[in-house]
Amino acid sequence: MDTQRGMDRPEREPQTGVDRRTFLRRTGFGAGATLAAGLEGILGARRAPAYGQGTKLHLLRWNDFVPACDEELRRQLGEAGKALGATVTLETINANDLQPRITSAVQSSTGPDIIMMLHNWPHLYEASLVDVSDLAEWQRRDQGAYYSQSEAAAKVGSAWLALPHSIVGAQVAYRKSWFDEVGQTTWPRTLEELRLVGMKLKKNGHPVGQTLAHTFGDAPAWAYPMLWNFGAAETDAAGRTVLESKQTAESIRFMQAYWKDACDEGALAWDDTNNNRAFLAGEISATLNGASIFIAAKRGADKLKDEKGQPLWQDIQHGPIPNGPAGTWAYHVAFSHAIMKYSKNQKLAKDFLKWLDAKEHYGRWFEAAAGFSVGANKTWEEHSMWAKLDDAMKIYRTAARVSRMFGYAGPASKEATQVYSKYIIVDMYAKAVQGMSVHDAVTWAAGELKKIYG
């Protein structure tokens, strides 16, 4: 209703501009039409929109424990970009966040074109990864046979779903002078010897630091060899669970004693970085780790000193996980690169991986790693870099030869990855060192494995 009263308001001028209705009509319909067309396109494609595809490549990796590796990689990406006529970007995140990131990328069908895979993850993400068997075959011909765990990690059935890139060796870094102080002048040969030495070290205020937390590297790299070195296994060769065994019980009994006698009991809450910090701060005498502690100590030699004021790195040595009753096996983490099926740049991604892993380029990254990461192929054992490294680092050269893979003695299946991702083997030991009986810990873990393996 028009409530205008009297003659005191002038007549409106005829509107020559845009009135409210016209504005609504034009903008509403314009935006609606655009939105509808855009949505239709997006829904039709069943993936999020991507812009400028064809010339851009997105690589997702972890934050390397050796920063020089990421620096070298970033430098190489520029070179690769020029060579391939593309812009290659590197994104690095915490390794513990990689799996959630992969899941969200796969489910939304958008994200990095290439993602770094740890362990045997390609088995878990089988449906979402591009077959790169041609690249793997090229690399095998070019650089020799792969280490068994690199092959087990990336080859699913007869197809390579990721291109093996490197292996991070896990050895026990220890303070030589502190071991000498308690009368242990050589690295213990057996786990029992390690426990006895650790007991003396702990009494001296220098416990061993070993994480049993939910963290990607150091925890499984200790827990799985504990099984294997006592003769226990997750599954038999046919993939049936065999965890509930006398050997598993023995390994847990050892772990309970070792934890109480020799270890820093706060390590139940450590991630993969805590032991590095604790070691470099002089809080622990030994810890299973990649070579990053030694490398960091050497690079920070002017700041990181021992009690005598000498550079700390000179007092660091490395030893393998000592023998258990069934021998000595290790778990060295295999790394590979996978091309995601949702990527629109699969050809470019393959070209990039081939460029990156070519001997002349990979060699420079390998040298930057300074032994922390070794090649996925045995050829790299012969690289001239090894002659230049300190003696303490040379143990990493052949470390990858004695590694087994999750799921042993069965295949490195996706079920094995699920067991790892749920930290069941790690938690079995963690529960036991917190007071759960050996029987209950084994029964719990075996029950969890049966739910996964069936």
């Binding site: 009297g6 003659m7 009509r25 992969i102 937390a213 706060g266 390590a267 139940l268 991702s421």
Partner: protein
């Protein structure tokens, strides 16, 4: 406009003419949409549409999708097939789920109790007049304003197994000889999480209850004092009955937030050690997102739904009762 106005004819000497407003005839709207906009019901629907679309996209669709996923064996990269309630049965019998389920109730119960009691105490203190009152009231909100992830990281450093400043302080004061296992013992870690949640959530209680307190007329307290009521009686007979509606609403909101808490546990303990601090949200994340078992993860998260539904139902019922018939 003159043509739309009429003056009622009047005899000489009578009252002045009265002007009345008459509907102005309009030309027929040239456009159908314009006519639609003139319709109040349609306009209301049109204005509500964005909100409804947003709710449908970001609330309803994920929820329905979650229910569907929970009924399938979907895993990362594979759509899965319908398997009924098998995921729910499997999780119900899973020992880690059972731990997470119990932890969620334990964590919610104690955190809410502490937040309520400390928040109430703080609100009563801040309801008094004192110098610097505004600054104190504003600064009280800091824990609530700082992003949860950042503040929890700070707490994590304070509870660090090796470099904890709290352990260092207690040791320096001669109060402990061994490090306290803040995050490396399951029970300690759970209580640490409750402490951090209380620290973070208490300002929300305090500021809301303070707002409620300030609506209570001082006359009521004066009258009660004249009748001989002591401070406890004044609180219990005057303050509390008037504050109860606000308190119920705050508690219900807090229960919902605490029960579904994720960030704090994820950053502080990651659910460890050995799953001892997992809540339903963090365990659902580990199974569904980290391990890629989307169906199982969705089923775990949906176990929260009936509990939260009951809480919301209780809240709505209570509020309706307050509003009267």
């Amino acid at each position: 406009m003159a043509k739309h106005q009429r003056s009622l004819a009047h005899p000489v000497g009578a009252a002045p003419p009265i002007e009345v407003a008459l509907p102005r005839p309009r030309p027929a709207p040239p456009w159908r949409l314009t006519r639609l906009v003139e319709n109040e019901r349609l306009l209301a629907a049109l204005l509500l549409t964005p909100a409804v679309v947003l709710l449908a996209l970001f609330i309803a669709y994920p929820f329905v999708m979650g229910v569907w996923l929970a009924l399938t064996n979907a895993s990362v990269g594979t759509a899965g097939t319908f398997i009924g309630i098998r995921n729910f049965v499997k999780e119900w019998n899973d020992s880690i789920f059972q731990t997470a389920f119990q932890n969620t109730f334990f964590y919610t119960f104690w955190a809410t109790i502490f937040k309520l009691s400390l928040g109430m105490w703080l609100a009563l203190l801040l309801n008094r007049q004192f110098r610097g009152m505004r600054i104190v009231r504003a600064s009280m909100l800091l824990p609530f304003i700082v992003p949860t992830v950042l503040s929890t990281f700070a707490w994590r450093w304070m509870f660090d197994p090796t470099f904890s400043v709290l352990n260092w302080l207690l040791y320096s004061l001669g109060l402990i000889t061994n490090k306290l296992p803040f995050l490396s013992d399951g029970h300690w870690a759970m209580w640490c999480a409750i402490v951090v949640n209380t620290w973070r959530g208490m300002p929300f209680f305090a500021i809301t209850l303070l707002a409620g307190l300030q609506t209570i007329s001082p006359d009521l307290h004066e009258a009660a004092s004249l009748d001989g009521a002591n401070s406890w009686h004044r609180f219990w007979k005057v303050t509390w009955p008037l504050l109860r509606p606000v308190t119920i609403v705050v508690v219900v909101f807090s229960v919902i937030q605490t029960f579904a808490d994720f960030q704090l546990i994820y950053v502080l303990t990651g659910g460890g050690p050995a799953n001892s601090t997992h809540l339903l949200a963090t365990y659902a994340y580990q199974v569904g997102v980290a391990t890629g078992l989307l169906g199982e993860g969705a089923a775990i998260s949906l176990f929260m739904f009936p509990v939260l539904f009951l809480v919301v139902w209780f809240q709505l019922r209570y509020l309706r009762r307050l509003e009267g018939p």
